[in-house]
């Protein structure tokens, strides 16, 4: 076992993990942060996307030990005081989901797209989301939601974690 210290959604954790533990499994099973889901488990679908030091990564393709000393933001860290992040609000208003399984990763990647480019064209949004698969929507309303969020200035606050994150299974420092 290896001891790691990670900040997740604004809360500092220190935990023992096996080196082979994937970041997504650490988040879900040790910290109880099940908002981040496992989709394809082959690093194709993007459902497990989180931010590592403010940049999007597929958390099924990162070891928890690689996140030692770093800052992770998950879908659970976006809302502040019960108020949805502008990207979450835009997904809600534009009905940018059907089954919802891809949504956590889609929202995290959509925020990353706007962090890189606050005013993307439709094509730039589609290219920016190419690592996230949705089998329900045909992407149409997802693109609309990102456009709406861009208009609302959603490019900020991607790593603004809450200070009341779940500590289930984790050991808050």
């Amino acid at each position: 076992m290896t001891r790691i210290s990670v900040t997740v959604d604004g809360v500092d954790y220190s935990d023992e993990v096996e080196p082979r533990t994937l970041l997504v499994h650490y988040l879900r099973e040790q910290l109880g942060k099940t908002g981040t889901v496992v989709g394809c488990d082959t690093s194709n679908c993007g459902a497990c996307t989180v931010h590592l030091d403010g940049r999007s990564v597929k958390s099924c393709n990162v070891l928890a030990v690689q996140a030692d000393g770093h800052d992770v933001t998950t879908i659970e860290g976006l809302a502040t005081n019960g108020e949805l992040h502008p990207m979450q609000q835009a997904f809600h208003e534009c009905h940018a989901l059907q089954c919802g399984y891809c949504t956590p990763g889609m929202i995290m990647q959509a925020i990353d797209v706007l962090n890189d480019n606050p005013n993307p064209s439709e094509q730039e949004i589609r290219v920016g989301l190419e690592g996230n698969l949705c089998r329900c929507t045909g992407y149409h309303n997802i693109v609309k939601a990102v456009q709406q969020a861009a208009g609302a200035g959603a490019a900020t606050g991607s790593s603004a974690g809450t200070t009341s994150g779940s500590t289930l299974g984790g050991e808050p420092v």
Partner: protein, 284 residues
């Protein structure tokens, strides 16, 4: 899918990494960005006793300038190379190719050095590295040595990096002012290249003065289309002249046959994509 158990080491210097590598024995894997290695470990195609993570070694990260060369640390991420003005200005072909690698999340983690040492012939950085006459800096316990691009890729997933050695940097001769284009053919977004062509061209007064062309997934290693390079010299940068020269793009190649296309189809694609890449490079 969860990897088999392994011991994990995260050295913070090249010297410490080399010592760890020397002590690790035979059954060790070096972890760069992990975007190819972790899927391999998860699918248990490999189950090493030890994994040495280079991610904490700052000296392996970053892009710099050294006279006539651009130097890229082996652990520089795709995203950081993509954002580099130095690379864009002096080795724009690499920028073009990296923009086509996988997706943004993978580009945030994956490293140029990791991809080159992994040496998947369908990977997108080998062909531009080859076309740009990149020098590979390999470090072992005895010090550094430099290997020419043509000697680096040895076979499927095999490079000149030996046991106990690490690729520490690549040095790209500046191709300032050269036009460039990476033409990648895939059927679905962020797929591995079925075939891709990396072309960089120096045009002088409407005539192609020099051309460098690398082929992705046309054999067990990235390949240079030297016959086309020679045929292009002195030709006008017109569709007709370039089309004739590019007809030889698949000469000497041995591309795989798989569900995406058979070998002959890939050879045809290579000629078409080479023409498109050269024309775009000559025009830009």
């Amino acid at each position: 899918m969860i990897p088999a158990s392994f011991d994990y080491l995260a050295p913070t210097s090249v010297a410490d990494a080399l010592s760890a590598l020397a002590e690790a024995g035979d059954d060790v894997e070096v972890l760069a960005g992990g975007q190819s290695l972790l899927p391999i470990l998860r699918m248990r195609l490999n189950a090493p006793d030890k994994v040495i993570d280079l991610g904490r070694i700052k000296e392996l990260q970053g892009v710099s300038e050294d006279g006539d060369h651009v130097v890229i640390g082996a652990m520089t991420t795709y995203a950081d190379v993509l954002a580099s003005d130095l690379v864009r200005q002096h080795a724009g072909l690499l920028t073009d190719a990296i923009a086509e690698v996988a997706d943004p999340q993978i580009r945030h983690r994956g490293t140029v050095g990791g991809a080159l040492v992994h040496a998947d012939p369908a990977g997108d950085v080998g062909a531009p590295a080859l076309a740009l006459d990149t020098e590979f800096v390999i470090t072992g316990s005895g010090g550094e040595r430099t290997v020419a691009a043509g000697d680096f890729f040895q076979d499927l997933f095999e490079t000149a990096v030996g046991e106990g050695e690490l690729l520490t940097a690549i040095r790209i001769p500046k191709h300032t002012g050269w036009g460039h284009r990476y033409e990648k053919f895939v059927r679905v977004s962020h797929q591995w290249s079925i075939v891709a062509v990396a072309a960089t061209v120096r045009v002088d007064g409407g005539t192609i003065a020099e051309a460098r062309i690398g082929l992705t997934n046309m054999g067990s290693t990235p390949l240079r289309a030297t016959a086309v390079e020679q045929a292009l010299v002195g030709k006008a940068a017109t569709d007709e002249a370039v089309r004739d020269a590019c007809a030889a793009a698949a000469d000497g190649t041995n591309p795989p046959s798989d569900l995406n296309g058979d070998s002959d189809y890939r050879k045809h694609l290579a000629t078409v994509l080479t023409r498109r890449a050269v024309l775009a490079a000559a025009g830009g």
